[in-house]
């Protein structure tokens, strides 16, 4: 019986294991140093905030693994030896494999700031980081101020977490507006305002110079590069992005870039070794995607794909239309297709932006200014139907069509106020059009008849 070993029990590794089990009787072993069982990494924040217990963020009950004959091994893989098809766990135990899947995810970036390894300085990625946060910032007495460095998704989540315990937070963001490398300016501005509404001390265009230690080697304060200001704090969160977690592969002979280099079949340069999820790096980016995609959904899709290949159904990793979502404090964000920020905008790309006069709700739609083709949409505070946008993107609808049928794509709960009429009239005003929005049609939405 073929022996499949998966390093990493995150969404990518576990998706691969589940699908291999569906398709075959192969022996499956998952190795993880982080936790005994798979959990949802994106939900760690809710444990600290008291919305859920750690048990709740484990998607499968503990009997699931034995029932599905997925063996779980706890330990860190310290070495991979492709010649002998052998792994070493925690520097001692050895395990052999017939096929190996590397799904080790990421680790927080550290950019060599002075003091970045002090006590009280941490990232937020793993279960261990969560446990550490309970030590570094258990409450507002023990942590009188926290400083977060890095304005991305993890940074704002960490800020939300600390605020739930009433801990004062200073949020240092390198860019002059929150996440504006990804978000168009209108949206980025809306989030800036929302961050301030939550009494977070947001410092835009601000870099960290160094982290200062007290006599015990604990963080005492941080110093800001631009002004030299010293901020006294008990905890520093480093949330300036993540990098593939692949140090243990350095001398293995597997080709590495920033991540583990893979082809479209998720194969590495070494036969029978595959890499998926956050740690995989495509030789060539797929479409507008980045070569490394540290996203929940892509991890899951790669896991499903590699399972097919390993079970004799060799197929390429072909993700469909890009989509993603996040929540910034109270504001939900969804995106379908491509909407680039001003920094990354394509030369053919044009935006239409609408924002509600009072509420924190906005929409940005990107389209091709040459042929009017709809390229993508970002929504804040409005939920959209994935299926509908996926269809429109496949059918290459133009932006006027999208506007005419916008109400079909609304996914807000029943009885919610609809903003679509307002959106369409702003679009008409902006572009001198006279589009009349059609009535919502269940037939169109569910593509019946």
């Amino acid at each position: 019986m073929e022996n499949i070993v998966i390093i990493g029990n995150g969404i990518a590794g576990v998706s691969a294991a589940r699908h291999i089990r569906k398709l075959s009787d192969k022996r499956i072993i998952i190795i993880s140093g982080e936790t005994d069982y798979f959990f949802s990494r994106t939900a760690l924040m809710y444990v600290y905030m008291g919305h859920m217990k750690f048990d709740h963020i484990q998607p499968y009950e503990n009997w699931f693994w034995e029932k599905n004959r997925i063996e779980l091994v706890r330990g860190y893989v310290t070495k991979v030896n492709p010649e002998e098809k052998q792994l070493q766990i925690d520097g001692s135990r050895a395990i052999t494999y017939d096929k190996l899947i590397v799904a080790t995810g990421s680790k927080p970036n550290k950019f060599g700031w002075p003091g970045q390894d002090l006590h009280g300085v941490q990232g937020l990625y793993s279960k261990q980081d969560l446990d550490l946060l309970e030590v570094n910032a258990p409450n507002k007495e023990a942590c009188k101020r926290a400083v977060i460095v890095g304005g991305g998704l993890i940074g704002i989540e960490l800020a939300e977490m600390l605020r739930s315990r009433d801990i004062p937070v200073t949020f240092l963001v390198r860019e002059d507006s929150f996440w504006n490398g990804v978000l168009p300016s209108g949206e980025s501005k809306l989030i800036n305002e929302h961050i301030l509404d939550h009494h977070i001390d947001l410092r835009l265009g601000t870099n960290l110079k160094e982290i200062v230690a007290d006599d015990d080697g604990r963080v005492k304060s941080v110093i800001i590069a631009e002004t030299g200001e010293e901020l006294v704090c008990d905890m520093v969160g480093l949330t300036a992005g993540v990098t593939p977690n692949i140090d243990f592969l350095k001398d293995s002979g597997i080709e590495l870039g920033r991540g583990v280099k893979v082809n479209r079949f998720l194969e590495t340069n070494v036969k029978d070794i595959y890499a998926i999820g956050d740690c995989a790096e495509q030789h060539e980016a797929i479409g507008n995607r980045r070569p490394i995609e540290a996203v929940w959904y892509t991890g899951r899709m790669m896991g499903e794909t590699v399972a097919q290949t390993i079970c004799g159904n060799k197929i390429e990793y072909k993700p469909g239309h890009w989509f993603n979502s996040a929540k910034f404090l109270d504001i939900e964000y969804q995106t379908y297709g491509w909407v680039f920020s001003e920094r990354g905008m394509k030369e053919y790309e044009q935006h239409f932006h609408w924002r509600h006069a009072e509420e924190k709700v906005c929409i940005t739609i990107a389209f091709n200014k040459e042929n009017n083709q709809f390229l993508g949409i970002n929504t804040f505070g409005i939920r959209m139907r994935h299926e509908v946008f996926d269809r429109w993107l496949t059918q290459e609808k133009d932006v006027d069509y999208v506007m005419e049928h916008l109400i079909d794509a609304n996914f807000d709960p029943e009885f919610y106020k609809n903003y679509e009429t307002e959106v369409v009239s702003k679009y008409n005003a902006d572009f001198g059009k006279s589009i009349k929005m059609k009535k919502k049609s269940l037939k169109r939405i569910f593509a019946i008849g």
Binding site: G50, N139, E304, E414
Partner: protein, 534 residues
């Protein structure tokens, strides 16, 4: 191990710490309860109407002030910070204290009303005496333990309903739904029946006297609706009485199937029902305590459907007991009635097994067939054994044991008393025969579903954790499947707490409603065909 509790402060740290306003509000609310408690120990208040008003006003305003302080100063959004840190909402010390107090209250209420001051002949004393003025103002009669309970129940739904609407002030579905349960409780369950009692003996009712009737309460939730004394009451009360009796029959056989087909069982369970109303308002803080394991689901299916069988047997036996045999006197005789019940049950079973059998698990098929055989055998027994009793037991024995086991112990003592331990929908989930029947329709003949939004699920578990019915919503959502479960009461909280906008309650076309294939959008189409290949 959480190191969270390292502070020595007695009240803890945020988010579980109480503000000064919240402490004062708690004190006011508890002082209202204290008045009732004093009355229970037979402190004789001089001006009962005044003290009762003070007490109810204190409970209401304490609750409202507390929630105002808790929610109004924060941005609209999900307010679950610290739920699992607070002992009241995480089965901690205060949770158990609350559970034990509520349970004791229910035991006294159901079985020892004399301790609440119920006096059969003469004036009530104690708590019930305290409520006499209000009862006389409404119905003209002195209060009973049920009047006391009904009043407190309504106050709880109103005060905690306001709290709930504040908590979810960004969510219109939740606000409107809560207004609906508050309205139905106050008007239909509380005021209208009391006022209807004033008509008793009047010429409108031909001098007859209607049984107490909460119009929104339908069989089998009000398992007693077709008992002999009620039928007599209805039939003695002229056209109005007859109309109410017909309405009672139509409720379960016509009105509810139509509404459930169009909207799912939520139209009742989380928009109208009083049990649901209390669970959604006063019980909201306990929704996360429901058990989500597969094992709990198995137990739930067997227990709740057994209650349906029990209530069907019991009601059949009770109706049978007062029907006659003489065809010239009664259009409905004992035999025609039993044959009718048998035909109805058999045809439901047959239709479902012919058209929907692929939607049942094996144990459900066996269970349904087994129960049908038992019921038919017991009905057949009547014809072989001749006169006297149906179902081996005397109908009175069946009625009494149902009323004790299900009506009192299950729905009251366990169902509400154990809110802080098993969650707020224990009764609805494990015990309510009405919920089971509506759920059966919802699963098989309804347009309602919770749609999963393509591939957006991140398996975080908020939906499952906050599902009061113990449905593992995430298990479906993470595969891209819609959620079509008979137990879903459509409270909408899974959709509200989802951080990624994945879930939407909606009524849509039947086609594609239950798609058990994985449909993760954003993924390669060919891959999904392979994934779904069996």
């Amino acid at each position: 191990m959480s190191t969270y509790d390292r502070s020595m402060a007695l009240t803890g740290q945020p988010p579980k710490e109480l503000s000064r306003n919240q402490k004062i509000a708690t004190l006011i609310g508890l002082s209202g309860l204290a008045i009732i408690l004093l009355a229970a120990f037979n402190v004789d208040f001089p001006n009962k109407a005044l003290w009762l008003s003070i007490s109810l006003a204190a409970i209401t305003s304490g609750t409202i002030w507390f929630s105002w302080d808790m929610y109004s100063k924060k941005e609209p959004g999900i307010k679950n910070d610290g739920v699992w840190f607070k002992s009241i909402s995480s089965k901690g010390f205060w949770g158990w204290i609350a559970g034990i107090s509520l349970t004791s209250f229910y035991i006294i209420l159901y079985f020892y009303p004399e301790y609440l001051g119920l006096v059969q002949k003469g004036d009530n004393t104690g708590v019930i005496g305290l409520f006499d003025p209000l009862s006389r103002a409404l119905s003209g009669n002195p209060a009973s333990q049920w009047f006391v309970y009904g009043t407190l129940y309504t106050v709880a739904i109103l005060a905690f309903g306001i709290k709930f609407m504040w908590k979810y002030r960004h969510n219109r579905y939740e606000r409107i739904r809560t207004m609906s349960v508050m309205f139905f409780q106050t008007a239909f369950a509380f005021i209208i029946p009391e006022l209807m009692a004033r008509l008793n003996g009047s010429s409108v009712l031909n001098g007859g006297s209607l049984p107490y009737y909460d119009l929104k309460n339908m069989w089998p939730l009000n398992y007693y609706n077709f008992e002999g004394y009620r039928i007599k009451g209805f039939l003695s009360s002229g056209d109005i009485g007859f109309a109410l009796l017909i309405f009672g029959v139509l409720s379960i056989f016509v009105i509810s199937p139509i509404l459930t087909y169009k909207y799912g069982k939520r139209w009742y369970c989380s928009w109208v029902c009083g049990c649901g109303g209390l669970a959604e308002t006063a019980g909201d803080s306990f929704r996360q305590l429901s058990d989500k394991t597969v094992k709990a689901w198995k137990i739930e299916r067997w227990v709740v459907h057994s209650v349906v069988v029990f209530v069907t047997l019991m009601t059949t036996a009770v109706i049978y007991s007062y029907l006659g045999n003489d065809t010239s006197k009664y259009w409905l005789t004992k035999s025609t009635f039993l044959v009718g019940v048998g035909v109805l049950l058999t045809s439901v079973f047959a239709l479902v097994m012919i058209f929907k059998r692929d939607q049942f698990q094996k144990d459900a098929k066996y269970g349904a067939a087994g129960y049908l055989v038992i019921i038919l055998a017991l009905i057949g027994f009547h014809f072989f054994s001749g006169e006297g009793q149906v179902f081996l037991f005397k109908s009175e024995t069946l009625r009494k044991s149902y009323s004790f086991l299900i009506g009192s112990i299950f729905s009251g003592v366990i169902g509400t008393g154990f809110y802080p331990i098993f969650g707020n929908r224990v009764w609805c989930r494990f015990g309510c025969p009405m919920a089971a029947i509506l759920g059966f329709q919802q699963r098989l003949f309804s347009k309602f579903r919770i749609t999963t939004n393509g591939g957006q699920c991140i398996s975080c578990g908020n939906c499952s954790t906050y599902c009061e019915m113990g449905i593992d919503v995430r298990a479906y959502a993470q595969k891209g499947e819609n959620i079509v479960r008979s137990s879903c009461v459509g409270c909408g909280i899974c959709s509200a707490v989802c951080p990624r906008g994945v879930l939407k309650l909606e009524n849509g076309p039947l086609q594609g409603r239950i798609d058990s294939n994985q449909v993760l959008l954003g993924n390669d189409v060919d891959l999904m065909t392979l994934v779904n290949k069996k």
